[in-house]
Amino acid sequence: MSVPSFDVERVRKDFPILSRELPGGRPLVYLDSGNSSQKPNQVIDTMREHLAQHYSNVGRALHALGSESTEAYEAARDKVAGFIGAPSRDEVIFTKNASEAINLVAYAFGNPINTDDRFRVGPGDEIVITEMEHHSNIVPWQLLAQRTGAKLRWFSVTDEGRLSLDDLDELVNERTKIVSIVHQSNVLGTVNSISPILARAREVGALMMVDASQSVPHQRVDVDDLDVDFVAFTGHKMVGPSGIGVLWGRRELLDAMPPFLGGGEMIEAVWMDRSTYAPLPHKFEAGTPPIVEAVGLGAAVDYLTSIGMDAIKQHERELTGYALEALREIPGLRIIGPRTVIARGGTVSFTLEGIHPHDVGQILDDVFGVAVRVGHHCARPLHLRFGIPATTRASFYLYNTTAEIDALVRGLHHVQKVFG
């Protein structure tokens, strides 16, 4: 497939924040997109324009602004549906973020008002996740296990930072109700192969969810190709605003699930003692939604599409290869995650012998303007697995350059001078 030409300098011009200076005249070297990405003018302007010219509540206002706002909100849903290849726009549910999308699905299980057998969970049933999950894909399932008496189980992670599928057939078995795994790890960068796990889940009649928070921003993700039952992702990591996330689910399952939150907009009719619910997608969108944020997310997927997801993936692959090579020259640096670009994205976490990540991050920021994330990155069990309390993480996106990776490497050498 031919990849459209990619000009990182042109891309950078779309992101005003990248040309600002930090206090003390430091340039900004933003290597924290895995945490949250920066926003292009196209998103900023679209949101501003909506607020300035079209803003009103959606769904319930009959006047001109009401219909303009509703149209823009629903058009954003169409754009997102197109972006992920959703068979139907009604399968795209707007949430607050990926965390809410995962909770929404988790609360459909073991819920007394859900009589569908596939969602029935009790003692003896099992839920399967992995050791490399973000807390957002751990805690909702722990809560489900606590509510229902079901057992939470997980795939382990190998020393190279890959999922160990050795005990796939034992872990995913007739007792399994749901398997939920991350598509791309927010710490290791590992991109998991979904199909073998999905095949086993299908064999035993379990449902399957994918946390695509770190993959949808960085590669072409088509829910039809993935073929799982639920996919969650979050707007702020894909050049969109915070406050908006997406749950995609198979229509037939979403129809069978009970509402998550109750309120305005999610109903069909309400009596004092009972209600009937709106059809999809509104059944899951109680209350006034994040209107401008949804419109901003629509602009974000337009922007990413105009650049081309394949071109973005290729650019990040080059950056990742460059970084893995460049970091090799730093003594005492240990990469936590795959050391090759194969089946891996542009997130590189590491430890520096004898130096705590907080100290690394502080010097990188204050001396070099290099923004990285330090800590356990909301994946504490994964850090425990590697026997470390924390890592330093550099994560790349379409607007990063090899010169910024050079700045990181220079910064790390300086860190070693200060603490050596």
Binding site: G24, H358, P389
Partner: protein, 145 residues
């Protein structure tokens, strides 16, 4: 270079050569404190003697240079002082750390601990500096209980 002013020579010195590190017997109380945002941990023991004398403060833990150096400085200030004196140093140190960089440090009370004044400008790091000091206060209260 704001941060480099935080990493005073004295802090780096204590970080590289921690004083009094390692858990020792005998002790009256042992506490374990954790900073949940960064995973820094300290286990700390105190042994008190007659007249409120602090005979030993021993500790072990893991964390950044600020938290490790703060434990080392605490050891030096508290050992051989009295409970009363050392707790007034803890209070002054806490006041300095929570002062967002606006508080004038009382060097007579704080001694070497004034080197941490720059940390107060970094809200994310204040907890690192306070970790072992809060653990000490807790341990002293428990051994008196």
């Amino acid at each position: 270079m704001i941060a480099e002013s935080m990493y005073q020579e004295l802090i780096l010195e204590h970080y590289k050569h921690p004083q009094g590190r390692g858990l020792r017997e005998p002790y009256d109380a042992e506490v374990h404190h954790v900073n949940p945002t960064c995973g820094d941990e300290v286990t700390l023991r105190v042994k008190l003697g007659d007249g409120g004398k602090v005979l030993d403060v021993s500790y072990d833990g893991q964390g950044c240079s600020i938290s490790q150096a703060a434990a080392s400085v605490l050891y030096e200030l508290a050992t051989d002082s009295t409970v009363e004196e050392s707790l007034s140093v803890v209070d002054e140190f806490t006041r300095l750390m929570q002062g967002r960089g606006q508080v004038e440090a009382d060097e007579d009370v704080l001694g070497d601990a004034v080197a941490f004044a720059g940390v107060a400008k970094f809200p994310a790091r204040v907890k690192c500096a306070l970790l072992s000091w809060m653990a000490y206060k807790d341990a002293v209260l428990r051994s008196q209980a």
